[in-house]
Amino acid sequence: MKRRSRPVLFTIALWGVTAGSAPLLSAEAKKSDPKAEIKVEERTLSNGMRLLLYPRPDEPTISGGWVAHVGSANERPGITGISHLFEHMMFKGSQAIGTKDYKKDLEIIAEQEKVRGEIRAEEAKLRTAYRRGEIDDVTRPENKSARQKELEKKFDELVKAQREILVKNEFDRIYTKAGGSGMNAFTNKDMTVYFITVPKNKLGLWMWMESDRLASPVFREFYAERDVVFEERRLRTESTPTGKLEEAFEEMFWHGHPYTWPVIGYPSDIPAITKAQADDYFSLYYAPNNLTAILVGDFDPKEAVALAERYFGRIPRGKTPPPEMTTLPPRWEAEMRLIGEAETNPQVAIDWHTVAFQHRDSYPLQVLAQLLNGRTGRLFKGLVLPVDAVATSASAAQESGRYAGSFGIAAECKEGKRPEETEKAIDAEIEKLQKELVPAEELQKVKNNSAANSFRRLSSNMAILIQTLVNDGLGDWREINEGPKRIQAVTAEEVRRVAQTYLTKENRGVAVFTRKGSAAAPSPDEAALASLPEQARPMVKQLLQRVGTEKDPEKLKAMISQMESQSSSVPPEMKKGLDLVLARAKERLAELAKPEKK
């Protein structure tokens, strides 16, 4: 289902989400099978940074990563998107990496910041002008003041000067030369995660590189990268058919909670984030006591602990601990609905507020989702398969975030079916789950799949690393081993109870998307009108109406000759419209000349 792939995760580079798409939450273990356990060794360094180690000699590589326990939920309006922008900045180098002359580089950055301060003052004026209706678009380059253009030129000169001493993308170059692969990072509402795979003999390099960018990062090329991030927003949200509607739905569903704003950031926030804000953000949230590093692969854990203490241990603990995100999701006690049109097939999505990571009800909710999913699931059987089906595809998921969770069902309407019908069919499936206990065999099927998937998820170093990072980011890596056991313990009564408790009308948000302009195909006149300049349309429309209803051939002839005489003198933007009316008038005349039908 399309809506399930909504952009809640943003990356430094395009990423074939193979490892990350592992079924994290449906993973399941047989209680007795030690092969399904991920045996992690856990250490805490002297500065509070945590280290998780999982030696696995099956591949001649080490996949290494770390998670910063900060995501868009830690932001506020005005700086939305900073967590993700920040993720990009972590690849820009350090005092040692990325420049030939560290001292000069810092001087140039300081100069750049001064100019940026002045540019910001101009940008503030643009926003004021926009609020007063004096300009139509703050991003349109033609609206910039002469002063701003001059300052930007000055800034570009400083960028040029910096480029002289820059060692372009050196961070990546060093890893690439050493056989690093799959280097990437992602940000979501709860966490920011960084990872790479290196050959097994390069553990020391990983320690050097990762600790160096945490010990002395330099956010150079900050403003160009901010533009890159805006292009990422255009790519994933603004120029996709449903991106903006999905963003609106998230906003509505999480209203009153920090999950409400998009991870990528509001379009007016991204270009306004300052380097100073990024610096503050780093010192608060990237202190070692807010980070967990994880290694999976062919290494000696004793050596890894010693190296980690030497490399990461040198970074001082943060002065103040990061503040807790205190907002609890409000209960609105009312169904919310979003109705939108887009270039997409008609579809329905229903999300219910449920529970956060490791809540005891999250397990029966995961089971509930799997009862609905797949080719033997209830949605396929109830909505897709019947002769009078209402959907071409449908799926469900329990998403347990660190601070709150939701349960969602989405379906694409079958040709000829209205979203209301599809929605009704979803409701009927839910009602059955609320009334009747799930048969034992059906429940066992879900548990069997969970158990098998707990092996499948262990296929590679990178897959194991990503799952461990994500679970630690959510609050507890042990969930990898504990969650599956709790799924095995779920009963039919629990499934029915959570369906009754959470899947209620007043607890949900519904999104209905229909195809833009699908109500009726435009008539030839409407299409022609659309091609005219805006100011010409009302008048042409009026004339077309008159021509179309005129019954007197003489009056039509008079109009035609009048228009023909004007044809050469009308302004160019009206010419096309006039020609259109003229053509229709002649057609009407010919029609009237035909003998009347009985």
């Binding site: 990546d172 050959p199 120029s239 503050d280 092996f455 296929s459």
Partner: protein
């Protein structure tokens, strides 16, 4: 909005600079990563021959024992693909491939088979693409024998249950309606038309008429004609004894119930790529740009040099020139890269693609063309070539990360004929990469990057594309010899061109 102020963090760093070149490092940590030393490690790729066997019943099989987890993975790859679609029945290969494992067998209805597989937590799937198809099964090793029984029926006696055919056709028609929704899909389709010609098999898209015309008998006939053991290659890995698995696989193909045909060769295109600028008007605020040139076969004697050239130009991510300039320097795109696909059956394509806000597309295109030119006018640096080489050589092990991935790779070598022609391809890989010189890279660029005759495809809002950002007012047509062709959108159900919607 906060205005600039000095940041304590940077101040501290600056003060430290006064004392020494950079802040003091903890004991035992060198100031540069180049000073680290590493234990020696050289990866030797596994040999395909060690896993290969020809089953008495026909197919070649690659079989690897892997006892780490109690799982077995089996996949059967089929020679043959969409190029076998009869004219007027475009979509037949795809439908047959999809429904083979999803529409029942002789003994089980689709519903019964799916219930049983789901209860066993077994994943079965099947599909047919451009030049190959496949059936796969992944299950717990304890259920292997039952799984193989089901697999044999899927391969030899698929039911193609009418209700599932109807459902799949409806799904395909619904999906067809979205063909003009995403600018990405429009770009990818038009790129293929420009590169290979509209008549080429991979561009003969299913239409409503072709899907409507497909009957169950067509699927049955397609299956009997092409699902012949001699068109199949098998891969198996997981928790089993190799000798026993070979026996079981042999039984899977023994006494095949009907006689099919050997798959014919994949057709080759007969098409000259048109030079110039091609525009598709689509109301989106980010343009999608593809710059295309003819490529080579992967057996080309220059192919290693060509790959290294591409890596330095735009294939190597953050270490490549296009990413450095278009993304890092100018902030014009999130993704900007080049790709040289080494063709297996016919020459591949050289393509550079990026996405940028519509009004900066022409400026970014200019930069890309400039970088392509620079690859021809001067040799790359030693550092660039070394980085590219190391990246190829040192990441070779990633292609063999798991047993199932390794078996899949060997099947690909077998299917595409490289195993027969060049069985030492992977053992010579390192040496072949190492011997490429800067002169070779320049020669490869001169051969392939004929920017003057490039095909440039842009999908975006046309009025904005032709009104570039005033800061870098590069007029688009000037980049491609002034020739601009408007490409119409296609009717999604017939793929016939429709009049372009008016730009607003």
């Amino acid at each position: 909005m906060r205005t600039f102020r000095p940041i304590p963090f940077l101040l501290a760093a600056a003060l430290a600079t006064l004392a020494s070149a950079r802040p003091a490092l903890a004991a035992g940590i060198p100031d540069r990563p180049e000073k680290l030393t590493f234990p020696p490690f050289t990866f030797s790729p596994p040999s395909a021959a060690a896993y290969r066997t020809t089953l008495p019943s026909g197919p070649v099989a690659y079989v690897a024992e892997d006892r780490e987890l109690p799982l077995v993975s089996i996949s059967i790859t089929l020679r043959g693909g969409r190029y076998l679609d009869p004219a007027g029945k475009e979509g037949l290969a795809e439908l047959t491939g999809y429904l083979l494992s999803r529409a029942g067998t002789k003994s089980f209805t689709a519903e019964e088979q799916e219930e049983r597989l789901a209860f066993l937590a077994a994943n079965a799937g099947s599909s047919i693409g451009d030049d190959r198809g496949g059936v796969s099964l992944n299950l717990l090793s304890k259920d292997l024998d039952e799984g193989l029984k089901i697999l044999r029926e899927i391969l030899t006696e698929p039911r193609f249950q009418e209700s599932r055919l109807t459902l799949r056709k409806e799904q395909l028609l619904t999906e067809m309606k979205t063909r003009n929704d995403e600018s990405q899909e429009i770009e990818s389709r038009e790129r293929s038309f420009l590169a290979l010609g509209e008549g080429f098999f991979s561009n003969r898209f299913p239409t409503k008429a072709s899907i409507d015309s497909i009957r169950r008998e067509d699927l049955v006939a397609f299956h009997r004609e092409w699902f012949d053991p001699r068109n199949m290659i098998v891969a198996a890995s997981g928790d089993f004894s190799r000798a026993e698995m070979v026996k079981k696989l042999d039984a899977l193909f023994a006494a095949w119930p009907y006689q099919g045909k050997a798959a014919p060769a994949v057709p080759k295109p007969d098409h000259q790529m048109p030079a110039g600028l091609f525009l598709v008007d689509k109301d989106v605020n980010q343009g999608r740009v593809s710059i295309l040139l003819p490529g080579v076969l992967r057996t080309d004697p220059d192919f290693f040099a060509i790959q290294l050239m591409n890596d330095i130009l735009g294939g190597g991510g953050f270490t490549s020139r296009i990413t450095n300039r278009v993304r890092s320097d100018e902030g014009l795109a999130y993704s900007a890269s080049s790709r040289v696909s080494g063709g297996v059956w016919f020459p591949g394509l050289v393509s550079v693609s990026f996405q940028s806000k519509v009004r900066t597309c022409s400026y970014a295109t200019q930069i890309v063309l400039e970088e392509m030119g620079r690859m021809k006018s001067a040799e790359v640096t030693d550092e660039e070539l070394l980085t590219a080489k190391r990246s190829f050589v040192e990441t070779l092990s990633r292609r063999f990360a798991t047993k199932s991935q390794t078996m899949g790779l060997f099947v690909d070598e077998e299917l595409t004929g490289r195993f027969g022609l060049d069985p030492a391809y992977y053992s010579n890989f390192r040496a072949n990469v190492e011997k490429v010189t800067k002169a070779d890279v320049k020669r490869a660029a001169e051969r392939l990057l004929a920017t003057g005759s490039a095909t440039v495809l842009v999908v975006g809002k046309k009025s904005d594309l032709l009104s570039p950002d005033p800061k870098h007012p590069v007029p688009y047509p000037s980049l491609t010899g002034g020739k601009v062709t408007d490409l119409p959108l296609r009717d999604p159900m017939t793929m016939k061109p429709v009049a372009a919607p008016p730009s607003r």
